[in-house]
Symmetry: C2
């Protein structure tokens, strides 16, 4: 085991040690077609001996690829790091990229640098594609990036009409699942605490609620619909209002777990038993769903899987930039706990 030289070995040195040409050595390292076994072994041994590692910059210069992918987080960091959902996505992205031998370049798009620096960064030919995490309806960032000719995949589709590739949880299907479950449990007066109308997740989950009622032959009653803002407090208030508006309700589908947790509080306060009097189902399978009283039945979504899907889609996009790809909708499944 000789000490590696001060300066990093080059491909040329590897080739010299192996007694082959630079081209052959390169062929061994990459695809490796049309190389004799003798040459291959010699090169591999030389690499081992010198501790050779290819210089990424030189490679990028000629291939015009960097094997790096940017993750642009357009949310406030508070939120991104605070919500376990985002953390899961990032974990999925991280491991999928590692498997594909790509690097993850993290860009925190604070309001400050957003307009100015961001496009500049991205054009620097520093990354092969961009993953974008954002929920805001009015975000023009995806279009902006695409204008630079970089493939983009958006996580958590911002608008229904978004032209970029995107990956999202199948909110409609998940909501149908939840409401269908309540119906199966014999509930006929199923209310919903819906999410904000200006977020896709809010709209789609409500859409699923409507569809499931229709499928079950139940009428859509406006008194059974209240909107919240995805916060726990809003769930609590919404539930109180529902109890006033429709005291005879026997099931509630909440557009997320936090609001469901609030609803449970309001129900207990009102003396309604869960699930005997009112069954409650949430959406998200957030950690809190395990610690509510009773534990919350909810629609499970896998953020990690979502991250992986984003990476898959982006890698496809880098290979066939022009091809049009359908948005990826990830299936959900129901986790039945004590509240239904």
């Amino acid at each position: 085991m000789t000490r590696p030289p001060r300066t990093r070995p080059t491909l040329e040195e590897v080739a010299a040690l192996a007694g082959v040409g630079r081209g052959t050595a390169s062929r061994v390292i990459n695809g490796g077609e049309k190389v004799s076994d003798r040459a291959r072994q010699a090169v591999e041994q030389a690499i081992e001996e010198l501790g050779y590692v290819p210089n990424a910059a030189a490679r990028a210069l000629v291939t015009r690829r960097t094997d790096a992918v940017a993750l642009v987080i357009a949310e406030s960091e508070e939120r991104v790091f605070g919500e376990p959902f985002f953390a899961g996505i990032i974990r999925g992205i991280g491991s999928a990229l590692a498997e594909a031998d790509r690097q993850l370049v993290l860009l925190l798009a604070q309001a400050s640098q957003r307009r100015g620096g961001l496009d500049h960064w991205l054009t620097r030919q520093h990354v092969d594609g961009v993953l974008l995490l954002s929920l805001h309806d009015d975000d023009e960032l995806p279009d902006l990036i695409r204008a630079h000719g970089l493939p983009v995949v958006v996580g958590g589709r911002a608008r229904e009409d978004l032209r970029s590739d995107y990956v999202d949880v199948d909110n409609v299907q998940g909501a149908e699942l939840a409401v269908g479950h309540l119906v199966e449990r014999g509930r006929t007066r199923v209310a919903t605490i819906a999410g904000p109308a200006d977020m896709v997740a809010g709209r789609s989950r409500f859409q699923g609620y409507v569809a499931a009622l229709e499928a079950a032959g139940l009428p859509l009653d406006e008194r059974l619909v209240v909107r919240g803002d995805f916060g726990q407090g809003s769930g609590e208030r919404a539930m109180r209002e529902l109890l006033v508006r429709a005291p005879d309700l026997d099931g509630v589908f909440c557009a997320n777990d936090l609001m469901a947790a609030g609803a449970l509080l309001a129900l207990r306060e009102a003396g309604r038993r869960v699930p005997e009097d009112v069954a409650v189902v949430g959406f998200e399978d957030a950690p809190i769903a395990r610690s509510t009283l009773p534990p919350l039945t909810t629609v499970h979504q896998s953020p990690e899987q979502m991250g992986r899907a984003m990476v898959d889609l982006l890698l496809e996009a880098t290979q066939a930039p022009e091809a049009s790809r359908p948005g990826r909708m990830l299936p959900t499944h129901l986790v039945v706990r004590g509240s239904s």
Copy 2:
């Protein structure tokens, strides 16, 4: 406004358009010394007109710098993204790097890839330095990376004897602040719920507790010391035990806010009034400190500032790799709320 050509403009094209040599154009873009105003303006206009952006790979190839910094997260991602403390650090790192025109490459060092891929990644001459976020005492990663000749800065010093550059909160000073405050409030029987002995934060905060008692001329009473594991449950249990061991205590310094929150629960359960009977101080100023009953007096640390300090230190290290730098200890301050 002419449409930019399909292929990105090169420095040579900029120079040609400006009617100067390649060298002069390069000089304008970088440091920019010894360039006539005439030439400078011509080049700047050409850059504007062509929408020129330097090719990072080509630059990295010759300068042997990438202007990118890796952030290696050796914790479980659950934890990193879950704790607001980490989120703050990352935010600080992100903005400090953006200001310094550096990129942030995020490496999630899951156990799986840790041994195998990591060193390989880092040697690829893909980053100029490494920021490491970890709390484990026995982590050999910093040494490993330094062996590759890459500057490393550790956030949240792992061991007192760590040879790497590091940035950490001044835990001793913070604990002294907290205990000193309790003493000022007239408390003479001040207990502590200490952190684990195998973490620097645990040891140092206890050390500060001891020092503050001594400074106040109060005796160190072993009955007033219980160790927890930084979890809320352990704080609750520790408090119960303290009440048994030393019913006459009138102040408690908890090594973090979560344990303090647990302690508050145990105190209420035991019928002790806070702060009248027992004053409680935490450490961290985590979000929970605002929502305990009563709101928690605690030692505030700024994770964002810590992230920035890590970046500062790393940039220094890349400029003077051999120079030895003292560890950076960040000051804390007390936030007085209702519990004291």
